[in-house]
């Protein structure tokens, strides 16, 4: 694949559309999946992989790579979609998603998939691991960064706040966390499950450099990543990304919001068509 710096490289908007397409194709393979989350986070992943992060597609374990820790393991379908687009996973593996013996299990696991740096599934693990990896990179005097994505629901977990305190305590300026605020958890709207607002104020009070952006506005996401990577203070960095479940497929955006949305067999193709139609100039 072409590297993102070449003039002929796809635009970030195209990347995001391909990530959504890959996710929809995997969803169709299984007839289910956390597809609404994949659609909401595709723009953030496009910016992470094709604007911010350093990696070598042919060598996913390259020591100098920026690490991406997927704390919300149920978003694996989205990360696979990005890893396929990044050339780390062959596109042909799309159709193995979720099947026995596949390297692409429904929930992300480090031992299964190239480019998957941690085992998620149990929520609230990623930021703690990220703290350890960020400390490790500093020990090694590595210039690599840790990026970690987690969901707003994970803010319910006390372990997240242990890690939030720790990252600040240890001045982990090589750590960039992104929280996907799609306001949807298993039992309903996140803010009704366990309120976490005002999130920016809280995180700033905890010693983080915090930005809140529309996670589906590519220009805003790019600016937030740029600021997070260049910010001068010795603080960990948090991007609070407000996103829209089902983004890019209008009939899924409008579907009654569910954590695990129902997509009828005939709708996958409709979703792909809608995605393409929506992205045409």
């Amino acid at each position: 694949m072409a590297t993102p710096t070449l003039e002929n490289a796809p635009t970030l908007a195209q990347r995001a559309r391909y990530i959504r397409r890959n996710a929809l194709l995997m969803g169709e393979v299984q007839g289910q999946g956390y597809i609404a989350q994949a659609l909401d986070i595709a723009d953030v992943l496009a910016v992470a992989y094709f604007h911010a992060m350093r990696f070598r597609a042919e060598d996913p374990a390259w020591e100098g790579r920026d690490r991406f820790l997927l704390s919300n393991g149920h978003y694996a379908i989205a990360l696979y979609a990005a890893l396929i687009e990044a050339g780390i996973i062959p596109e042909a593996e799309l159709e193995t998603y979720g099947f026995d013996e596949s390297r692409l299990p429904m929930s992300g696991m480090a031992s299964y998939t190239p480019g998957m740096e941690m085992s998620g599934g149990s929520l609230g693990l990623g930021l703690g691991i990220a703290v350890g990896m960020a400390l490790g990179l500093k020990r090694k005097k590595s210039a690599a960064r840790i990026f970690t994505l987690f969901s707003d629901g994970e803010l319910d977990e006390g372990s997240k706040w242990e890690a939030i305190m720790s990252a600040s305590h240890h001045k982990l300026d090589n750590l960039i966390a992104i929280v996907d605020v799609n306001n949807q958890q298993a039992d309903g709207p996140s803010k009704q499950m366990l309120g976490f607002e005002p999130l920016v104020d809280k995180l700033e009070a905890f010693g983080w450099f915090v930005q809140r952006v529309d996670g589906n506005d590519l220009d805003a996401v790019v600016a937030a990543f740029d600021a997070a990577m260049t910010h001068g203070e010795p603080k960990p960095r948090m991007i609070v990304a407000d996103t829209l479940m089902g983004k890019g497929v209008p009939f899924l955006e409008q579907r009654e919001k569910n954590h695990f949305i129902r997509v009828e067999p005939h709708e996958w193709q409709l979703a792909l068509s809608a995605l393409n139609a929506g992205e045409q100039p």
């Binding site: 693990l125 691991i129 703290v131 490790g136 890690a163």
Partner: protein, 336 residues
């Protein structure tokens, strides 16, 4: 203060043992902080070794390491979930964390974090925990009576229950040479010194026959090996001949040695452990014997399936049957 004589608690009694009371008996030979000193020795030769704790450096003997290698010591605060997740992260970056806390907090509070971020990912983290089993008089909050059962049940995890200072010193370099997650119980402070007199060397996954005998075979781990040796000596005064098979590696179990010894005819087999009778060495041995068609008379010495009392350790060890005198008494009763 109440006047003496007027209350039921007036007569002299043992006071509650300090949270971190030494398990050494009066006058017993001891060595200070064997885990901490062994870790310093290891770290002198291995740059990748780092120490981590959750506000229990002093109480797990990791402070010895912290003094020797302050820049390789991570104080994570009283946050055990973070401690083990971050240990996984440091291991992912090529370091070998020795992460310490009390056994109750590793096994109970942080179980999922160890399960998912260390065991499932097969990270090279050594979990070293003080206050194993009933070695605190502080009550159930600090009595890790089920740690071995919990970690035995965790895939990828090696589980070790050392007897004394001599063994702890040997375990540290051995588990460093073993790639993968390890849970080891740690005895801290002034730790009894016993096995140096038995020409003993710790080998991962190996049991050791420390004493042979013809009437009873005691299979034991941890401090119960010390008690078993003392009880065997006391039993010999009563012309009862006791063998002691020390099994410091709870997982993987040395099945060959256990079957070899338990298969010898004519002996009562007693498993003695500083742990609940549920899910520890006793049940591991029982399952092995059943599975293998070896059926000696079998008894367990271990902690009961209940929340244990607070109090003085000697009192508690007597009450729950793991003191030397109680080991001897129970075996004599079973042999009668």
């Amino acid at each position: 203060m109440k006047s003496a004589g007027s209350t039921p608690w007036a007569k002299p009694r043992l006071t509650t043992s300090a949270m971190i009371a030494s398990i050494a008996a009066e006058g017993q030979r001891t060595r200070p902080a064997p885990f901490g000193h062994a870790l310093v020795e290891l770290a002198r030769g291995r740059e990748d070794v780092v120490g981590m704790t959750a506000d229990l450096g002093k109480y797990t003997d990791l402070h010895i390491f912290a003094q020797a290698f302050p820049d390789r010591y991570y104080q994570m605060g009283m946050a055990e979930q973070l401690l083990f997740a971050a240990a996984s992260g440091l291991a992912a970056e090529g370091f070998m964390p020795f992460a310490t806390t009390y056994a109750v907090f590793a096994s109970r509070r942080a179980y999922d974090f160890i399960h998912q971020t260390i065991a499932e990912e097969d990270r090279n983290v050594k979990i070293a925990c003080a206050l194993p089993g009933l070695t605190s008089g502080y009550g159930p909050s600090h009595q890790a009576v089920e740690d071995l059962a919990l970690f035995r049940a965790m895939p990828n995890m090696t589980v070790i229950d050392p007897c004394d200072a001599h063994e702890i010193e040997q375990i540290v370099p051995v588990i460093a040479a073993h790639r993968g997650p390890v849970y080891m119980r740690v005895l801290r402070g002034q730790v009894p010194l016993v096995l140096d007199e038995y020409n003993y060397r710790f080998e991962l996954g190996k049991a050791a026959l420390l004493r042979d005998g013809t009437d009873v075979l005691i299979i034991s781990s941890g401090i119960m090996t010390m008690r078993a040796l003392e009880a065997a000596q006391a039993l010999s005064d009563d012309r009862v001949s006791a063998a002691v098979l020390h099994v410091p590696t709870i997982k993987p179990l040395d099945t060959a040695a256990i079957l070899h010894e338990a298969g010898k005819p004519g002996r009562l087999v007693v498993v003695a452990e500083n742990h609940t009778v549920i899910g520890g060495l006793g049940e591991a041995v029982a399952t092995l014997l059943m599975r293998s068609g070896v059926h000696p008379p079998f008894r367990q010495i271990g902690l009961p399936d209940e929340f244990l009392a607070a109090g003085a350790l000697p009192t508690l060890h007597d009450r729950y049957g793991i003191s030397t005198a109680e080991v001897k008494r129970q075996i004599k009763a079973w042999l009668r």
